[in-house]
């Protein structure tokens, strides 16, 4: 066991012959929580050797959008189970959304989530703070207190609910500048989506399910990019799902507006045609859209209009999905399928390389969330948050074999490419041979930062 500045990294690992970001095969020597060396023919002395021929080495993935459900809905997911799923999916950091119960709208709650994450030790858990008290959209939560807490919150979101009041949104965008924060908006005009069940279009017309028009998302994004421009703030748009949203973000970026956008894996692959089954596993917010939207999202992710892939991992207990469509909860699991779905939709289609993959799943999400030590280059001296991926693997999704407690995967039964072989978090293998290994163990928090 090697004692490091912040914790224990168990051992030294030589990753032999991995294609770095999908490029040339090289070795990576991991020691003391960092990449000690990168190069060809590195010495294996004193190291556990991992033969990685045929595997791709990537920076650990950073999810900008995860629902861990704890505190409050531990029947759906806990920080422990959710972060196990994250590690297995190739993540070394996740942003835990604020819609827990109690809502993560105080320093106390975000510190609790932060502490649970450290206790679990599978990934960095970065709590997202609520923008408004209780997600009620009326009064700003104590954003500064959350930013200054041990959780060091930088991403603020009422995700699940849109900050639809334009004045409140303006104030939030302005206020978080004080501590380099970002508002992550769930763009959904509430009046246009009252009772909405699925994408409004040809399929909803036939199924008789209340429609969720694209304009309800696009109008909020259009308003918000203009607000962000006006007050000179940065804005992050959660889970864009329509071709029109991509166009608006593209327009905003051309004007130099500081906006980033996210797309989920499921919106890159699935369409509202699946709703014809009335199976609530396909019920999600924002809803599955049309094939034209899917193609526009892929193009937007490929050309950089959309910056990141965020899972919007949303586990639910089975009783919330084993019911009528209208009664069912919205959301899908995603942590353990994200890599495969992005490989299927973006890499196997030739739209992106593995280097692009690293950008949209690690580098940029870490930058948006201001997560130090994540999304870094795979170079000597950098923190050893590294994953090994077998791009030639194919597997069939079985939700019952997943680490997440949620069984609500829309990909159940689907064969997908790519498998995470190993995940190194702070130099420690949380996943080896595609299976959970052991969590990273933190040393005590630095003095003066409180106790756990």
């Amino acid at each position: 066991m090697t004692e490091t500045a912040t914790g224990t990294a168990s051992g030294t690992y030589l990753i032999r012959g991995a294609a770095i970001l999908g490029g040339d095969a090289e070795d990576l020597l991991i020691r003391d929580g960092v990449i000690a060396e990168r190069g060809a023919g590195l010495s294996a002395e004193g190291a556990t050797v991992i033969e990685a021929a045929g595997l791709v080495a990537l920076p650990g993935m950073v999810d900008i959008h995860t629902h861990l459900r704890e505190p409050g809905r531990e029947d759906a997911e806990t920080v422990e189970t959710g972060t196990r799923a994250a590690a297995l999916g190739g993540y070394t950091a996740v942003h835990a959304m604020a819609n827990s119960n109690p809502v993560a709208d105080t320093a106390g709650v975000v510190e609790q989530v932060h502490s649970l994450g450290r206790a679990s030790g599978w990934v960095d858990v970065r709590p997202v703070g609520a923008v408004t008290v209780g997600l009620a959209g009326e009064q700003l939560a104590e954003l500064g207190a959350m930013a200054d807490s041990r959780a060091q919150v930088r991403v603020f979101s009422d995700d699940g609910i849109c900050v639809h009041d334009p004045v409140l949104m303006r104030r939030a965008l302005e206020y978080v500048k004080a501590f380099d924060g970002v508002v992550a908006q769930h763009a959904q005009e509430p009046r246009l989506t009252a009772g909405a069940q699925m994408n409004e279009g040809a399929v909803s017309a036939v199924l008789g399910l209340a429609g969720w028009p694209a304009v309800a998302e696009e109008s909020i994004i259009a308003r918000d990019v203009l607000l962000a421009q006006h007050v000179g703030s940065r804005l992050h748009v959660c889970h864009v799902s329509t071709a029109g949203s991509v166009e608006i973000v593209r327009w905003a970026k051309e004007r130099g507006i500081n906006v980033t956008a996210e797309v989920t894996p499921h919106h890159l692959l699935l369409t509202d045609e699946l709703v014809r089954s009335y199976d609530p596993v396909y019920k999600v917010n924002p809803p599955l859209r049309t094939d034209a939207d899917v193609q526009a999202l892929r193009a937007g992710l490929a050309d950089g209009t959309i910056d990141v892939v965020g899972t919007d991992h949303a586990p639910h207990p089975s009783e919330h999905k084993e019911c009528e469509w209208a009664q069912a909860a919205m959301g899908m699991t995603g942590l353990e399928t994200a890599l495969s779905v992005v490989q299927e939709t973006m890499i196997e289609t030739g739209l992106m390389t593995w280097a692009d993959f690293a950008r949209v799943t690690s580098t940029v999400p870490a930058a948006i969330g201001r997560v130090a030590d994540q999304g870094r280059p795979l170079e000597a001296g950098e923190p050893a948050n590294v994953i090994l991926v077998d791009p030639a693997a194919r597997w069939t999704v079985d939700p019952h074999k997943m680490a997440t407690m949620g069984r609500n995967s829309p990909f159940a039964g689907k064969e997908l490419p790519g498998a995470v072989v190993a995940t190194f978090f702070k130099g420690h293998p949380t996943v080896l041979d595609g299976k959970l290994n052991t969590p990273y163990r933190y040393a005590a928090e630095p003095a003066g930062a409180g106790s756990e």
Binding site: A202, A205, G208, L209, E324, W325, Q327
Partner: protein, 342 residues
Amino acid sequence: MKHLLSTEDLSAANAIRILDTAEEMAAVGDREVKKLPALRGRTVVNLFFEDSTRTRISFEAAAKRLSADVINFAAKGSSVSKGESLKDTAQTLAAMGADAVVIRHWASGAPHRLASTDWIDAAVINAGDGTHEHPTQALLDAFTMRRHWSSLHGSASTGADLTGMRVAIAGDVLHSRVARSNVWLLRTLGAEVTLVAPPTLLPIGVEHWPCKVSYNLDETLEGGVDAMMMLRVQGERMNASFFPSTREYSRRWGFDDARLRALDELGLKDTIIMHPGPMNRGLEISSAAADSPRSTVLAQVRNGVSVRMAALYLLLSGDSREAAHTPGAARTNTARSEKESI
């Protein structure tokens, strides 16, 4: 197929088979003893999550005329109102040995859920789900239209479809399961359908439907209509700004006395006026229209029992060979659909 969930996926052969069987069932209704032993010992559950006395008693009468045991399960005042899930309700009915479940539900797709899960193995008949479909209503409407269309042409109903018939459906299409089921079934049977509604009460995507769409009822009538179906309009739609007032709605899209006279002036002497009920007299249909000789409102109710008998019979008693052995309901001229079940 062992369920009747929608008309969208109902083949022409199966639709005509149901209508033809309904003709046989109607003949039973004319007899002194209006009862068949066909479903003796079988259990039909009317599972109603939404009040609909008319539809429920129609199904109840249909099942009883086939000698089935009928259980009426109304969600209000039952375990469902205490929070029991659809899954638990379905499994309970399965444990009680239900052979068929006739389900009315406020949620679109609820019958599909019953049929596609392993909660219950019974035949499922959709008796109206949310704003999705109401297939037996469309079948009874088609049955009514077919009798009218055939008599105009001096031919027998049995075996016929609706080729060439011009049908206009006016009203709240957006929220109407009756409109949806009718559009699909009438297309399948060869009729020409025009939907007439305010633009606010048509779904986005209606342009993909196999029908014409009009905002103008008078122009539609002038173009020639053989069957004019009025849909029920909920007054509360007014509060959600779907239209400015019930009076304005009635003037533009209601079948009022002036439009009733217009049928005569246009020489449309054989045009029938249909309504699935219950009617809002004075809103979407005037009393004179509802009570005129053109009105088929009561015939629709009567035909509803025959059509529902046919549906229950075909779903519960197996293939058409079996049907041929059942007194009073024998049909052997549907050989082309022998391989199919509905």
